[in-house]
Amino acid sequence: MKNLNSYYSSLLVFGFLLIWEAGARAYNKSFILPAPSEIALTLWELRSVLVLHHLPPTFLVIFIGLVLSILIGTGLAIWMNGNKVAEKTFYPIIIASQTIPIIALAPIFVLWFGYTIWSKVAVTVLITFFPITVSAFDGLRSSDKNLKELLLTMGASKKDLFFKLYVPSALPSFFSGLKVAVTLSVIGAAIGEWLGAQAGLGYFSRRMMTQFDGAAVFAPIVLLSAVGILLFLLVTWLEKTLLKWRKTG
């Protein structure tokens, strides 16, 4: 079944690319709408500069951003789950933080952190910690009250409850949130780099925009989405290995 699914979606993507190719050739203004074939060609030509020079800093932003988000998000979720006051205080703030237009806020991070990696990391954290916090919190809350009581009758300590009940109950939901977060992290890193950077895929794409090189604008974006897809697949794989008991499909 799974193979069939990816077969249909490949077909759709291929069809879409075909139409794009035809449309771009007819329109014939490659600085506005480059054809997929041109983008592929540019990607190939720029491969070493993109992969060796611009990918590593972007990847570092994504990585640090995600790690911080996971630490802050799960930490906050665990705290809110254990403490009613913390929940009442932080939950509304976390929700409200999502209504802040992050792109508009991003320049402030430059003021705070300068053109260092931290201004980019801050943008990434701000958009990825939300799905992680909320999914971890919901997961923790979803644990079965009856199971908790049973563990208590066995003489379980707080630590036993946490590791043997709360964590396993929270994992399925946590992974759903993490999947959303890794795809968002790529966007966060790219936006962060638009603000100003010396290297990075987002920075490169924006620089090419000023040079009217349409194909070179798209090439790093293709690479960015490849990073996003790879991260997504990595999380899916982790989820499958850790949650073997779940019936899928």
């Binding site: 003489g155 036993d160 043997k164």
Partner: protein, 258 residues
């Protein structure tokens, strides 16, 4: 005189979660005592508070009035002292059969090798050998119940509270498990409290039967089973036992207004 291992003195209880105005006392002025090594069955109509008695004994609930004694001492801190098998099997879906059985031993902090050996042997006895790597989601209702029962036994407590442990087993497996339970009870000299809806089961297994009547005034009536040990299933055909069984069934039937 021998001291009872467990005693309820004038215990009353109602669930605090209900709004005050329509709160009905579930248990009112309950008295009973259980001696060391006794096998007690509790029967009563559905909803009369049998499972609630177990929640009180385990320490999940506190009595509204009255006291609970263990070995003559008032038992305040009761959690973690008895083996409790809840009415639903409550297995952890993320743990395999083997890992589920290991749970009480992990909590007690028993050494890994020792615990594993113990569990493997019992899995064999309970007909769960061969499915130890399966997840609860892949087990039949009867298998889940046996696993939950096994987990309770592994708690190693001297008092076992079993809430309808064999309700989803077929007649033959149920008989095997009943015989196994009696065998273990005699070997390990445990004290067992056993909730059931099945009067035959109660008669076959227990020394005494506690009968709870319908709430709000649930009173406990005690009945001694007129059978020696060891017992066989055909002993249930004794005249004494049949008369007792009919009396019990009458007791359980909802009173019709006359």
């Amino acid at each position: 005189m021998i001291e009872p291992v467990l005693e309820f003195k004038r215990v009353s209880f109602d669930y605090k979660s209900e709004p005050l105005k329509d709160r009905v006392p579930i248990l009112e002025d309950i008295n009973f005592s259980v001696n060391d090594g006794e096998f007690i069955s509790i029967i009563g109509p559905s909803g009369c508070g049998k499972s609630t008695i177990f929640r009180l004994i385990t320490g999940l609930e506190e009595p509204g009035a009255g006291k609970i004694y263990r070995k003559g001492q008032q038992a305040i801190d009761r959690l973690g002292r008895v083996g409790y098998m809840p009415q639903q099997d409550l297995l952890m879906p993320w743990r395999t059969v083997f890992e589920n059985a290991m749970l009480p031993l992990e909590i007690k902090g028993i050494k890994q090798n020792e615990a594993e050996e113990h569990v493997l042997k019992l899995l064999m006895d309970f007909g769960l050998k061969g499915s130890e790597k399966a997840y609860p989601g892949d087990l039949s209702g009867g298998m889940r119940q046996r696993l939950s029962f096994l987990r309770t036994i592994l708690s190693g407590s001297n008092i076992l509270l079993l809430d309808e442990p064999f309700s989803s087993l077929d007649a033959i497996t149920r008989l095997t498990m009943q015989e196994w339970l009696l065998d273990q009870w005699q070997k390990l000299s445990k004290t067992i409290l056993f909730i059931t809806h099945d009067v035959d089961e109660a008669l076959f297994l227990s020394d005494r039967i506690f009968v709870l009547s319908q709430k709000p005034n649930s009173l406990i009536k005690e009945v001694k089973v007129p059978l020696g040990r060891p017992r066989r299933v055909r002993d249930l055909g004794n005249l004494d036992v049949i008369t007792l069984k009919e009396a019990l069934i009458d007791e359980l039937r909802p009173r019709t207004a006359t």
